[in-house]
Amino acid sequence: MTVEFVNPSGAGRHAADAGVVDGIGGLRPADPAPPDVTAELPGGPVPGSPPPVDVTAQWPGGSVPPDRPLVGLESRDVSAWFGTHKVLERVSLRMRPGEVTALIGPSGCGKSTYLRILNRMHEMVRGASLAGEVLLDGQDIYRPDRQPAQVRRRIGMVFQKPNPFPAMSIYDNVASGLKLAGIKVANKDALVETSLRRAGLWNEVRSRLRAPGGALSGGQQQRLCIARSLAVSPDVLLMDEPCSALDPTSTRRVEDTIAELQGQVTIVIVTHNMQQAARVSQSCAFFLATHDTPGHIVEAGQTRGIFEDPQDSRTADYVHGRFG
């Protein structure tokens, strides 16, 4: 398997360094404007003349300051155990604000474990323990005085298998985070709409917000889960193989969603799909575990660098599909 960049512009790497990415996202259309923008505004403005952008409209619930700074995440020497079995060895990684960081590596090398450590889900497994620090905006999320629920509200998670709440409608699913975290917002309808729009699902479900969340296709369910996570306006969104249970079309929609979220939220995504990692991420970390060494990072850096010019031969083998 070889990864090809459809749009290999020479400036890509520098652009990525500066945090203004254009090259890697080249697989998606340059301007993924939803085709139905006008459809929802009968007699609305002419498409050619966009109205002035009001940033506050993005946060109609008023739960988030409009110009909230992006927040990065960093792990320092994170190790993890299940009982006595050590599965992660001193993983240090910086996930930069507003970027998409991809975690790649063969099955069982501890990517999910690492991801769950990043929002304190790891400790819910019986017998699980960890060492090291995880800094959200410079503050350790494992500090004794921090509540796991508070941390998880700022660091959302999307799971491999879409898991909308079956007893709730689409609307209630999106709003469920508010209810679960005990957040009050002034304008719930608008927040639900914004979250669904950000997840790229609004136009598909706008007419059936009261239908049960389970009545959607797999891909729509996954985007509903993304919308649900976004509704509590997290700083970081973790995604554990969000597309591995989806068909190619749905996968593409989810990738589009991720691409649109880039720059708004810090995203960490685990994926087994090299093309996907190349398409959606700016940074990339390659995890590896062998039978006698726990999972660790072999190489991390700009996605383009990892894919085009890996420093480690194991990385090269992996990204070119020679093992794993």
Binding site: P51, P60, M121, P148, A149, K161, F165, S176, R198, V232
Partner: protein
């Protein structure tokens, strides 16, 4: 000529009748004959009926006439065995040995099913027949036994007091046992820990507890020690003791069926454990829990032994479960079926039928509720959904017509996001 052509080329091809195009289905309704996989053949039916008739006839001749035996049970048993032998014999002549074995086993299974249905039908039918004389008098449903003696005709006396007692006792027992049972199940599933194991063992032991022990316990505890008189309340507490383990065990099974992914999703959204249970786990398990509760109610309403020692007995209507004895349907049946007078026995059977109908209704309700997956809508919910949609539509058209600014802003925000 163009197998790869997009489908919208095909009509043109058909018009031209070009070569290589697929012939469409022949015009006119020439219905295809469907392949019949499992046919009921004439000889199959004849073999079955013939063997049955032959078996019964042979048994009648041998069992009733020639051998010195008689009796209905023996007759039908021998008849059935003879029928099987004849059927196997007739089968061997015309079918392969494996096929014969298949059919034989099929006949055995079907007759086992029929036997069960027959037994149930017999019970219900017998009760109905014996209870009919009492049931077809309206006063049976509206009167008590206060003024009706054993020798009075069925035009007087009834079971309303027992019906009221049953409903009240069942209601109280449900109110007590459901929260306790569901809480206990929540503890076992959601909290766990080292204490879960002994609790589960005790609950399982309680399920196997003979019901009379529950009655005895409440009799000793409430009536003898605490001095609460024999009453509907005491009976309800005895029923509660019996219902708690049933509710707990079924609720535990149901709660375990809630996918752990939903709990994880809730925690990942920043939900606390209590909010997760209240907002995610319980709503997801709601219909299953309702089924569990109803099945436990159906069990409780028919229990005799817990109420035997605790409810007392009265012929009067006592709507107050907290003082004085209160009769329930099982107690009513148990008392009156032992009378020598046919009228009394008839009343007992009538009450038994009423009890069965009650249990049947509860089961039907459980099926109605429990057959649904979470998220599947009842008719009422669908109606609400439609109304909510209409309301949505109104709001939207309102907003689009009157106040377009929010939509504009949102579009603007969308564009802004796209532009990045």
């Amino acid at each position: 000529m163009d197998t790869l052509a997009p489908p919208d080329n095909r009509p043109a091809n058909l018009e031209h009748g070009g070569p290589g195009t697929q012939a469409p289905a022949a015009p006119g309704p020439a219905a295809e004959r469907r392949v019949r996989i499992r046919q009921v053949t004439m000889e199959g039916v004849c073999t079955l009926v013939g063997a049955a008739l032959g078996g019964i006839a042979l048994t009648w001749v041998l069992y009733q006439r020639i051998l010195p035996t008689s009796g209905a049970v023996g007759f039908w048993l021998c008849g059935y065995v003879t029928f099987l032998c004849l059927y196997a014999l007739a089968g061997v002549v015309q079918w392969e040995p494996r096929d014969v074995a298949n059919r034989l086993v099929g006949v055995l299974l079907v007759s086992a099913g029929l036997l069960v249905i027959a037994v149930v039908a017999d019970q219900i039918g017998y009760t109905a027949v014996r209870g009919y004389p009492a049931l077809h008098h309206l006063n049976f449903f509206t009167d008590t036994m206060a003024l009706a003696g054993p020798l009075d005709p069925l035009t007087s006396g009834g079971m309303i007091h027992a019906l009221v007692g049953s409903l009240e006792q069942m209601g109280i027992a449900t109110v007590f046992s459901v929260p306790l049972g569901v809480l206990c199940a929540l503890f076992l599933v959601e909290v766990g820990g080292p204490l879960a194991r002994p609790v589960r063992t005790i609950v399982e032991a309680m399920t196997a507890l003979p019901e009379i022990i529950a009655g005895l316990f409440i009799y000793a505890f409430l009536i003898l020690s605490l001095g609460v008189g024999a009453s509907g309340f005491a009976a309800a507490v005895a029923l509660t003791v019996m219902m708690i383990p049933i509710v707990t065990r079924t609720a535990e099974v149901i709660l375990r069926l809630v996918p752990s992914g939903l709990r994880e999703a809730s925690y990942a959204l920043g939900g606390s454990q209590i909010r997760t249970v209240l907002n995610v786990v319980l709503p997801t398990a709601r219909s299953g829990l309702a089924t569990a509760v109803i099945l436990a109610m159906a069990r409780a309403v028919g229990e005799t032994s817990p109420v035997l020692l605790t409810a007392g007995f009265t012929k009067d209507l006592n709507a107050n479960p907290f003082s004085g004895p209160q009769t329930s349907l099982p107690l009513y049946i148990w008392n009156y079926v032992r009378y020598p007078q046919p009228a009394m026995v008839s009343r007992a059977f009538g009450a038994a039928l009423a009890l069965m109908v009650m249990v049947l209704l509860l089961f039907a309700l459980a099926r109605l509720i429990g057959g649904k997956a979470p998220g599947e809508l009842t008719r009422r919910q669908r109606r609400q959904l439609r109304r909510a949609r209409e309301a949505d539509q109104l709001v939207r058209s309102d907003r689009e017509a009157g106040d377009r600014s929010l939509a504009l802003e949102l579009t603007g925000a969308d564009r802004g996001a796209d532009a990045q």
